[in-house]
Symmetry: C2
Subunit: 410 residues, 2 copies
């Protein structure tokens, strides 16, 4: 009989969002007519920018003419998209990133999982707590951990707590690590990393020859001009960091699917025998062999994000969600909650009252206000006692949800 | 320093198609004005079916309205697409396959690589020779092989030669194997597997508790009604086979990107300690964790393949390429070549004359006829002495290319 990857059996059965769906469905069965408002999962709700739609319709039409039909594209993405990303998202911010270092993909979830393909066993891996579960689960699946304990922590991972005490910015590890996952603006806490904090991480990584996986999926929501959008704004980051970006949240591409990963040339890891190997070449080979590029149509839609009209539409979209976030913060504060995030990120991280457990507060919010949040404990042990609310919804729903919260808790 | 996956260093530097591109470019530099005709890479050339384009344009427009906007879809694909595939491609052929067993993806290249994620180490792996290089390279990258020898064969893999003597249908292995890659209609030889041949493989797999990875990307090109389109037409295949399918070649989706994998419920592998584990659950978890679904727009395009208009348009597209294949066979035969394939597959596999090496004949065809083929040796040691010609081109180009071949060799 064929051997399976038994590491999968270490994964905890209930992924966060299926468990939320189960509780919500159970509640709806006994209360079928309640006007439920979902501020749980971080999915966008507003229409795709017109510039992107127009570009995609034109691309579909090109597919109808033999002269402009597109078959296989480059696995790494079309040069016209890579060049616009490099120029606009990096060079315009003073980051020394070339188009050849941009790898277009169908999602940051895929990329943050797949990146482990080019890394070996034996690395010491650090994640924050709370954390986007994909970072942890993909390491479990790759055999980089032991079993989970009763708090859901996997043996072999180094957990860096994000707490109110450290302003939800991970403290440098006290033990040496080789791979470090950082996500800023942070999912789920909504915290951001200052230039000084990122510089400390880059300095740590260079001193320890570690690699930082920097997930900047939410960079578009940064409103404070002092906060870096890319880790490559930090001197030395080319020597220690891979960055993940997405069109999901800025341009509403969660259902359209386009993202990219930046792997600087010259960035290196080593073989067990100590030979230095360039990661760019490995990722280039990985993508050429196990990926066939993003749909031409979708890449044209992503390219339109960088047009003048696209830029204006994306700014408007981001501003819309950020006004939701502001409203959520304001009303939660009015209701007496301690709240974090929501200023440079579309997530508000609220402290549950009087030490209520995350899941208990989730249930209370569901049953009392008909509002769905995401229990902080679902993102890791240090998320216990918190709940995440997302700004991705209509204004009307956000206002109504917050009115209910104020009425129930204020 | 972080450890890399050193298995990548075992990969041979020159992947087949880059080497072809290098030789073609070198030739074009010294002969910039030759009317080159490319019958090398297996990429489609004709417009996307109108039904697919219409459906995609409508889907883009839905994205512009909050009421019909689509965010994250199910990672496994939308039920309406999975149900149409199950009904049309499987149930209509008598295959007992349910929609829940269909996993929509962005490509068969990705799927045939990613499937290894759910399998462990220690499996004995069989591939045909010649073979689609991705099967081999992804096993090398996963650490399932040793180094390559001078013939390009990796230690630890079991190679099953496809030769004129065995009618290009793999002979059952003489040693026990656990994972078996089969591709029929075959890339590159254009051969097909009869019902009896597939039954022998299913019987072998069940007797040895092996899993067959059945790549049916070219099933639409089968013209002989006696040839199975799916391995699930064979009794017992649900207990031993995973099937890969694609919209790339039937509907011209190579640049649009949609495919699917069939994992029957109840199909099992084992842990090192001998516990049986269902593969469907592992693949479901793998896709939920490391993938975020195919673009809604593209899935609507794929769904349109199953409309009445879509079916007629796909039939016309396939018939167009198969007439190209017929012409290639006819003219090559007229020119005195021994030819295989091209009847139930879009590839013609020609024996090079007088024992000429694959690459030498590739060069001769390029320099004499300005026609680009694919050297058989690029697909494996047993492909030496063969060359693949693809039927994916305009009628005009195919006719012109064949006239040149007849003039040069006839």
């Amino acid at each position: 009989m064929a051997f399976v990857n038994a590491n999968y059996l270490k994964l905890k059965a209930g992924y966060l969002f299926p468990e939320i769906a189960r509780r919500v469905n159970q509640f709806l069965q006994s209360h079928p007519d309640v006007p439920l408002i979902r501020l749980g999962i971080g999915d966008v709700t507003e229409p795709l920018p017109a510039a992107c739609r127009q570009a995609m319709i034109q691309a579909v039409e090109e597919m109808g003419d033999r002269a402009t039909f597109k078959g296989y594209g480059p696995e790494q993405g079309y040069p016209w998209l890579r060049e616009k990303i490099a120029a606009h998202d990096f060079q315009a911010r003073g980051c020394d990133i070339d188009a050849s270092e941009i790898f277009i993909s169908d999602g940051s979830k895929c990329d943050t999982g797949n990146i482990l393909d080019i890394f070996g066993d034996g690395n010491r891996i650090a994640v924050t707590d709370p954390v986007y579960p994909v970072y942890v689960d993909t390491n479990v699946m790759a055999g980089h951990t032991g079993e989970a304990n009763e708090r859901g922590e996997y043996a072999g991972l180094v957990y860096l707590p994000l707490t109110a005490e450290n302003h939800f910015t991970a403290t440098l590890p006290s033990e040496p690590v080789d791979l470090i996952y950082l996500c800023f603006p942070n999912n789920p806490t909504g915290a951001v990393a200052t230039r000084e904090h990122l510089q400390a991480w880059v300095d740590y990584a260079r001193a320890h020859n570690a690699i930082i996986f920097f997930d900047a999926a939410y960079e578009a929501f940064i409103t404070d001009p002092a906060i870096p959008h890319s880790i490559y704004e930090i001197p030395g980051a080319r020597e220690c960091a891979i960055e993940f970006r997405s069109f999901s949240k800025n341009a509403g591409f969660t259902g359209t699917r386009c993202a990219f990963t930046v792997v600087p040339k010259g960035l290196k890891g080593q073989t067990p025998s100590g030979e230095a190997v360039e990661l760019w070449s490995l990722w280039q080979r990985r993508q050429s062999t196990k990926f066939n590029g993003v749909s031409y149509i979708v890449q044209r839609g992503a390219e339109a994000v960088y047009s003048e009209a696209g830029q204006a539409q994306v700014r408007e979209l981001v501003a819309f969600y950020m006004e939701n976030a502001r409203l959520i913060r304001e009303k939660l504060t009015q209701a007496g909650f301690a709240v974090y995030g929501g200023v440079n990120a579309p997530y508000v991280w609220l402290k549950t009252p009087q030490g209520t457990g995350s899941w208990d507060f989730f249930d209370k919010l569901l049953h009392t206000c008909y509002v769905v949040g995401t229990p902080g404990a679902g993102f890791g042990a240090a998320g216990e006692g918190y709940l995440r609310l997302s700004a991705f919804n209509s204004r009307e729903n956000v206002v109504e949800a917050m009115n209910r919260v104020v009425a129930a808790f204020g």
